[in-house]
């Protein structure tokens, strides 16, 4: 029972992280129909941006104790940074290719990914050594069930991730801009005929996805406190798993990405806890294979039928 609860907590924490990142993949795919390979590098930027901001704030302010609101301020700073970079990447790299074959965009995305990684590795930027982020959330146990300790950090992380997901869901399904996003995703040309400024909606989507990536990177950094160098393979793996989550849930489907992220988190953590922890990546990619074999459009994905 204790092990179950412990695993469940871990699974929800990591699953909600996957979900946050998967949302960025799925939103961009939904609207432009290509996989933004540079997305995981925006997550890295979120983690490193948080680290640099937090360190800078601590150094300049010289607090004896970290104020409770610093975490929030750092998160917002990271979101602004990643949102700006996401906007620029779309504008400079992808927008000029709007009418080009999709393969060109895909290759460009790989190029952007390499560019971001290598820029991050520059000594003047983040360098090639790992670093640790200051403690932004109090190291406290807020409840204990049996032997299982519920840590403040996990609760704050889970709460942040879930509230952002609910917020996004509300935005996409209940607001005017969300309706415009869904319209562009379904058919950009007709969306334009409704008066929807298609290019601006695409920019907005990139900014939004990058802000969620920033949140993912921020929470990842808090959770593990050590942040690996920008080109570390661990980041690639994190991005890949989030991408798998998006595909499993149904690529292009916002609710699917959230569901897929949680599913991947549960599978990975419970597989590690009860079967073998050395196979944790295997479970994730096996699920991908199974979904692609039996339900290629993903759990919530659907295939459109045109009526005449």
């Amino acid at each position: 029972m204790d092990q179950f609860l412990q695993t469940l907590m871990g699974a929800l924490a990591i699953g909600s992280l996957y979900a946050l990142i998967a949302l960025g993949y799925t939103m961009v795919y939904g609207i432009l129909k290509f996989i933004n390979f540079a997305h995981s590098d925006v997550v890295v930027l979120g983690a490193w941006g948080s680290l640099v901001f937090a360190r800078w704030a601590e150094r300049t302010a010289g607090w004896s104790q970290t104020p409770w609101y610093l975490g929030g301020v750092v998160l917002i700073a990271a979101m602004v940074l990643c949102g700006t970079v996401g906007f620029l990447v779309e504008r400079l790299a992808y927008k000029p290719l709007r009418r080009a074959p999709r393969i060109n965009v895909l290759i460009t995305a790989i190029g952007v990914s390499l560019f971001l990684q290598n820029t991050g590795q520059l000594e003047a930027v983040f360098g090639t050594r790992p670093a640790s982020i200051p403690r932004l959330v109090g190291d406290r146990t807020i409840a204990q069930i049996g032997l299982v300790k519920i840590e403040m950090l996990d609760v704050v992380g889970l709460f942040t991730a879930l509230s952002f997901m609910l917020g996004l869901d509300w935005l996409v399904f209940r607001t005017k801009i969300g309706r415009a996003m869904r319209a562009v995703s379904f058919n950009p040309q007709t969306a334009g005929l409704m008066g929807v400024p298609v290019d601006r909606v695409i920019s907005f989507t990139f900014v939004l996805g990058s802000m969620l990536a920033a949140t993912g990177g921020f929470l990842w950094a808090l959770k593990y406190s050590q942040v690996n160098q920008p080109a570390d393979t661990g980041w690639t793996l994190l991005g890949l798993k989030a991408f798998v989550a998006a595909v499993v849930g149904g690529i292009g489907n916002v609710r699917g990405a959230m569901l897929g992220g949680l599913a991947i988190g549960l599978l990975e953590q419970f597989g590690s806890a009860y079967l073998s922890s050395s196979l944790s990546d295997v479970y994730v990619f096996s699920l991908l294979i199974v979904v692609l074999l039996f339900r290629p459009s993903g759990i919530l994905g659907s295939t459109a039928v045109e009526k005449v």
């Binding site: 005017k176 309706r179 415009a180 869904r182 319209a183 995703s185 379904f186 058919n187 040309q189 007709t190 969306a191 334009g192 005929l193 409704m194 008066g195 929807v196 400024p197 298609v198 459109a304 039928v305 045109e306 009526k307 005449v308």
Partner: protein, 235 residues
Amino acid sequence: MLEIRDLVVSYGAVRALHGVSLRVERGEIVTLIGCNGAGKSTTLRAVSGMVRPASGTIEFEGRSIARMKPHEIVRLGMAHCPEGRGIFANMTVEENLRLGAFTRDDAEGIAADHERALTLFPRLRERLRQSAGTLSGGEQQMLAIGRAILTRPRLLLLDEPSLGLAPQVVRTIFQIIREINAAGTTILLVEQNAHMALKVAHRAYVLEVGKIEMEGPAADLAASDEVRKAYLGVA
């Protein structure tokens, strides 16, 4: 209201329009008839900004719109119901209608036009919460026109509203096109169903392989031998 002069449009190396000129006056229904591939849809697509003309001018209410984007043209008061209806099948009927009002923020005016669209098409009222993808072809066409009304256009471009519909439904649609026009909206109608189009229109143009071949009052064209042979199937 709409004045097109020497419009040339190419898709890559293929020239679709070779200098089309036509004019639509306020309050008219003008129809553009012709065979498949004559360039009817291309003409509408150029007017609403979906394709950029290679040369020629397009003026809407005295303003040049040939270089504008579709969403800017909608704001000027022109709506385009595209070929194939362009329904958002991933949304409900209600959401489709609300997208029509995307450019507007006068809540009262939107509510009034919403009501007007549902009065014109009572079938839509029964299906507001239904996914638009589950509608029949005729209902989708009604939704496309209803949605266009919600942009409150002064000029409405209709691309093949009768395509693939049962004769009964076609009659209903054309009846409603007439009502919309009577209420003050100018209409440019592209049709393969020349018979119905010439009946409802005031003036007509005949387009053949990218060029206007004939023009005149719809009744005159409907009576001319050439049109009767080529488009009305009368020997």
